[in-house]
Symmetry: C2
Subunit: 395 residues, 2 copies
């Protein structure tokens, strides 16, 4: 008999599973090439060749027992040195290896830092629309998720409501920019104001409130937009990074946390993150891929692939009459449902072999998420169906 | 400010850290080659060449986006098919891919299954001496660890006390054979009796009690001893396996859970384990190494390396007057401390540059653990010091 908490999860996961099965059913009937699956955030751009070269170089030249062996739970020291320097070069920060904890992707990193921080009943604030897994991650440590309602004008965070929702139990705020599901980049102005509110509230309440900046999409930004590096704006910032998108390595589970010296309770935070990495069962980030990414710090996937997709899908949808903010990052469009009930809209879309995710999954009903990390051809082929779809629901 | 729970962990981890620092201090004074570190279970046998060959074959021949991409949270289906067949060939079982969940090592697997099973306050029984991390893993899900006291005659589980400690809150029993820290293999007779007790108690209490068999050392057994496969003895058995020792890949974090169809609540157990893998932040076991181990199912590290170490260290210690059960598996000796206070003994050992772990860490005071996964030369060089050590403390 599974635990009570898991009963609920299994029920809701069966809904996602049903969507997945529906995709397979449609593919069986119409052929996979005639099903337009925009439901998954699985990068379609290939990992850069530097990754393959690094793997071969490492397994040919480095010690076998070292490459595949245990190391400090925070990761190989030389890898952490290289990552710290790379961040410093990009953002003018002054990190060293003691600020870096290698993690099993950003999902692993977020769990490590939430385990480190949360007492039962502590509150963690998120801005809708938000990545639904945050709810589970916070619940893992018996924290309470506090949701700030969406600002559907430009999908920047609703800061007035944010300020009202900070209490003496607020332990952390999760920021995700470029954002899943909107693709919006939180502006420098947003970050400055948000930081000011937090400093004010910290001093008013006499507590520490941490920003947890979840940055798997950092490298995926377009039109030269600046994605502010949050440790430069607010001392109590922890960054969770992942190579899942920037190097197209989602299955390899490789990322890191940055815990700056400026963070309150720094020594305990680092020690606790180290222990949490171990006792949650991660033990350490996968060893070969720690060494691989250290050799690929200047490599990136070809984001032109995503940018072309973005332009084609965004421009076409606008032309057909859809409403959508043009995203500056990630690989999602967050489109206003042409009818009030976006779940109904997603159902109708299936008739056109289009698979998209209702905004309710991101605490933002009335919208749908389209992941455009698919082939350009898939978008081209899907366009007439998107046109027919809006024409049908507008009737 | 870190969470209250983590404050305690950080304090106790600083003791382990102090031991580690002491090793570094001694190495700096005497040279690393003159410090005899028997404190860590870090395999020194090299990963077999099959691992390197598999990596190269995969990255040269398989699709880049597939190899490094997301897959079902349970792992690649073809990998799970191959593992199920391999288990069936070895143990005459009838598993298929639906029984296998790929995990981030055995530590990841144990966390997944405990998350799946435990309600707060549920009890998990372990047999002392036991791997200390079990306490943290169970505490992660607010379970209570119930410790059966050690049977220091032969280190088989104390079954009379076990039977007494089973209550209506008992959700699971963790079995670890070959055992860390004793190296003892639980006999077929032990497993049969333990299974009978569990069946009796299940029917008496009307509950399901699961065996969680933690098997990272399964392949490390000596003298042809049989390590019983527990699913053949007891229906409610879940196996947690790891390639950390059998292929010397501890840093790669690759293992699996076996959840047999015979397990109570099977469909929910599989669904929940899948979800737990995702929401705990593992998401999936590292993708490249899933594919690697599928190609290395018939490969093994050279356990003769460990066996030679075992013979040399065991025979020498017995000759010098130490008392110890000859272990049949793993790579540990669990030696009776020649003086009552084994922590004091470990302190004196340091004077001889010998690093060993007090039994208190495994809930078995009066004993010390020596990990002989070191070079043969290290053992040879350490022997005169072991002799001098017992002579000093016996004075």
């Amino acid at each position: 008999m599974i635990s009570n908490k898991m009963v609920e999860y299994v029920q809701s996961s069966s809904i996602i599973r049903a969507m997945f099965e529906e995709g397979k059913r449609l593919a069986a009937i119409h052929g996979a090439e005639n099903v337009y699956d925009f439901s998954l955030g699985n990068p379609n751009a290939e990992a850069p060749k530097a990754v393959k070269d690094a793997i071969i170089e490492i397994i040919n030249n480095e010690s076998v027992t070292m490459v595949h062996g245990y190391m400090n739970n925070s990761g190989y020291e030389d890898v952490r040195v290289a990552i710290a320097q790379s961040i410093n070069n990009k953002f003018g920060t002054s990190f060293n290896e003691t600020n870096i904890v290698m993690t099993v992707g950003a999902a692993g990193g977020l769990n490590v830092i939430l385990k480190t921080l949360l007492n039962p009943g502590d509150e963690v604030i998120v801005f809708a629309p938000y990545f639904g897994e945050y709810r589970s991650y916070v619940a893992n440590y018996d924290g309470n998720l506090v949701v700030v309602s969406p600002n559907t004008v430009d999908f920047q965070p609703n800061l007035a409501e944010f300020k009202e929702k900070i209490t003496s139990r607020t332990k952390a705020v999760i920021i995700n920019s470029p954002n899943n599901p909107t693709g919006v980049v939180y502006s420098k102005d947003t970050i400055i104001k948000l930081s000011e509110i937090l400093r004010e509230k910290q001093s008013e309440l006499g507590t520490d409130i941490y920003i947890i900046s979840d940055e798997p999409y950092r490298e995926l930004s377009y039109d030269g937009v600046e994605v502010p590096y949050l440790t430069q704006y607010y001392d109590n910032t922890i960054v969770g990074y992942s190579y899942s998108k920037s190097l197209s390595l989602p299955g390899e589970r490789i990322g890191y946390l940055v815990i700056p010296h400026e963070v309150a309770d720094f020594a305990n935070m680092i020690a606790a993150a180290n222990v949490a990495n171990r006792i949650l069962g991660f033990v350490n980030a996968p060893s070969l891929f720690q060494r691989v990414i250290a050799k690929c710090l200047n490599a990136d996937v070809d984001i032109d692939i995503y940018n072309k997709n973005r332009e084609l899908l965004y421009n076409s949808l606008i032309e057909y009459g859809y409403e959508c903010i043009k995203p500056e990052g990630a690989f999602y469009l967050f489109v206003k449902s042409p009818i009030a009930d976006e779940k109904e809209f997603c159902s109708v879309a299936k008739k056109y072999n289009i698979l998209i995710v209702p905004g309710t999954s991101f605490a933002c009903p009335g919208y749908v998420r389209m992941a455009y990390c698919v082939s350009y051809q898939t978008i081209e082929k899907a366009l007439p169906s998107f046109k027919a779809l809006i024409e049908e629901v507008r009737k």
